[in-house]
């Protein structure tokens, strides 16, 4: 807890180190407290700035766990994760995290604008009010995600697709360099998916790094150049058409279909 106290809103000195990978995971093994088998075993992967990577795999493969470890929601073993050359946790403000739907209390009374402003909190910190620069960033993000007219609505009044756009707008307002999106495409209509992909593509062109976990394999070939197939270990990593082989597909949909370890369920 003490280390978290120190990072929120402090003047951020940890800048991306030139020439470093956006994300480097090396030999990461992670076991949930009280669990007997590791959720991730010996995972290694590197993602360069400007890459757009799909994280795929069956339920319980550890996609969310990996994302939470990178975002700092779970504590990784020392020296296994580096973000822009820094140890995980020391540069929170560079990471925009969009959690799974279930992790958010959508009924809590906040307006769309307030949620998007939460992306600016990391630049503010304790006892600071939003400045004009923060309000401008929020307005821009709302505009990009076509939410300007909904800005003063309660988040609970929005449709699922609109809520997902709000979460992405928040990540945009944060001006993060590394975006982690955990199953952002579930149950979204096609126009919303297209809008989100379009935005992610533009971010990648600005040398931002995007990692998206999904189990919707159909969309991969169109929107991603690289996929990482995770099943507690990295099974395959490379161009989408090489990763989506008969073997990996069977693994995703066949062998482990009846999994005892539902990712969206009991785990933290």
């Amino acid at each position: 807890m003490a280390s978290y106290l120190a990072t929120y809103g402090r003047v951020h000195t940890a800048r991306p180190l030139p020439g470093e990978a956006a994300l480097c995971v090396e030999g990461l093994t992670f076991t949930y407290p009280g669990s007997s088998s590791p959720a991730l075993q010996d995972v290694s992967l590197c993602v360069q700035p400007g890459e757009k990577v799909a994280l795929v795999g069956p339920n319980g493969a550890g996609k969310s766990t990996l994302i939470k470890l990178v975002a700092g929601l779970l504590r990784p073993p020392t020296d296994t994760i580096r973000v822009y050359g820094h140890p995980a946790g020391s540069c929170h403000h560079h990471i925009g995290y969009v959690p799974q739907r279930n992790d958010v209390d959508w009924r809590f009374p906040v307006t769309v604008r307030q949620v998007v402003m939460m992306g600016r909190y990391t630049h503010l910190g304790w006892l600071k009010w939003p400045r004009p620069i923060d309000r401008e960033a929020v307005d821009r993000a709302l505009e990009v995600m076509q939410l300007t007219e909904l800005a003063d609505k309660q988040i609970s009044e929005l449709s699922g697709g609109q809520q997902q756009r709000v979460m992405l707008a928040r990540a945009l307002a944060q001006d993060a360099d590394l975006l982690l999106l955990d199953e952002p495409l579930n149950n979204l209509d096609v126009p919303t998916q297209e809008m989100i992909f379009h935005t992610l593509e533009q971010l990648a062109q600005q040398q931002r790094t995007v990692i998206v976990s999904t189990h919707d394999l159909g969309i991969l070939p169109i929107h991603f150049s690289r996929a990482v197939f995770l099943d507690r270990r990295v099974v395959a990593d490379g161009p989408v058409n090489e990763v989506l082989t008969a073997e990996t597909l069977a693994r995703a949909y066949g062998v482990r279909l009846c999994t005892d370890h539902d990712e969206s369920g009991g785990e933290v």
């Binding site: 807890m1 978290y4 106290l5 120190a6 990072t7 929120y8 809103g9 407290p33 939470k68 975002a71 700092g72 929601l73 946790g89 929170h92 403000h93 990471i95 995290y97 959690p99 992790d103 958010v104 209390d105 009924r107 809590f108 009374p109 906040v110 307030q114 949620v115 402003m117 939460m118 909190y121 990391t122 503010l124 304790w126 006892l127 309660q154 988040i155 609970s156 009044e157 928040r170 944060q174």
Partner: protein
């Protein structure tokens, strides 16, 4: 009618009771909004009960009840967090254990209190017996609570709405929660003088719950809650003055009645519209 309404308010003890209702109601409504929306009603009730030993010890030693209650409340707030820290036991289990243990200690100590009258005041409150000194303490508590909510509003929002994002930007939801629990302890203690140990959770939960049925905006939930508390306090004062009915139960019953009305008739959301 006018005379009937105004006459009681010419007495100092009635004025102090009304002011106390205003102060306690405002503080409880503002924090209560978070208690209700974050699903912390059980914690609120627990803290209310666990302050009993603190109140009794202070009473027996002639110390201001507020001091004893505050210490006990903060010990509870921190204790709940400490017991459930490693998730070895669930938080509601930790609350259940602390709650009954402290309450039992309070009841045991109550046997040392001689007069039945003092005892009922602790258990059920005595809004007509509030002194000027009590009012100053209530004012300080209410201002502290309101100031804390204003200063940490954005942290309260983000940890309530999306704790994952809070952690990702380096803000600990646990820390915010501790702070909220300590504030709750503070406010609950000042509410005890109005409605007593047994019913103070009603001031925290019921007005905010009623208001959240009527509006979806957080600031309005807080303001409406404060208004409901004030109205209930008035009802309690008059019932006591004219009917000789204890003020505490009247206040709580009035709040409960408002809740039932809102639950049935809230525009668009009440039971009768569904």
């Amino acid at each position: 009618m006018f005379q009937w309404l105004i006459e009681p308010l010419t007495y100092g003890f009635m004025q102090r009771g009304l002011l106390a209702g205003l102060l306690v109601g405002a503080a409880c409504a503002v924090l209560g909004a978070f208690v209700v929306l974050r699903g912390m009603a059980f914690v609120g009730d627990a803290i209310a009960h666990t302050v009993l030993p603190g109140v009794v010890i202070a009473f027996l030693n002639g110390v201001n009840l507020f001091v004893g209650a505050l210490i006990a409340g903060i010990v509870t707030a921190l204790g709940i967090g400490w017991f459930s820290k490693d998730r070895e036991i669930q938080e509601d289990t930790a609350i259940g254990v602390m709650f009954s243990g402290f309450f039992a200690l309070g009841i045991a100590l109550l046997s040392r209190v001689r007069s039945y009258r003092d005892l009922t005041h602790i258990l059920f409150g005595n809004i007509l017996g509030i002194s000027a000194a009590d009012l100053w303490i209530m004012l300080a508590v209410t201002l502290t609570a309101l100031l804390a909510v204003v200063l940490f509003y954005k942290e309260l929002l983000v940890t309530s709405f999306d704790p994952g994002h809070a952690v990702a930007i380096g803000l600990s939801p646990g820390l915010v929660r501790y702070g909220l629990l300590v504030m709750l302890a503070l406010v609950i203690v000042s509410g005890i003088q109005a409605v007593g140990v047994v019913m103070v959770a009603a001031l925290l939960v019921t007005p905010a719950a009623t208001a959240s049925l009527l509006t979806r905006r957080l600031p309005r939930i807080m303001m409406l809650g404060a208004l409901f508390s004030l109205l209930a306090t008035l009802a309690g004062l008059y019932a006591s003055y004219y009917g000789g009915i204890p003020s505490g139960p009247t206040i709580v019953l009035t709040l409960t009645g408002m809740f039932i009305l809102a639950f049935l008739f809230a525009p668009g959301r009440g039971l009768v519209w569904r």
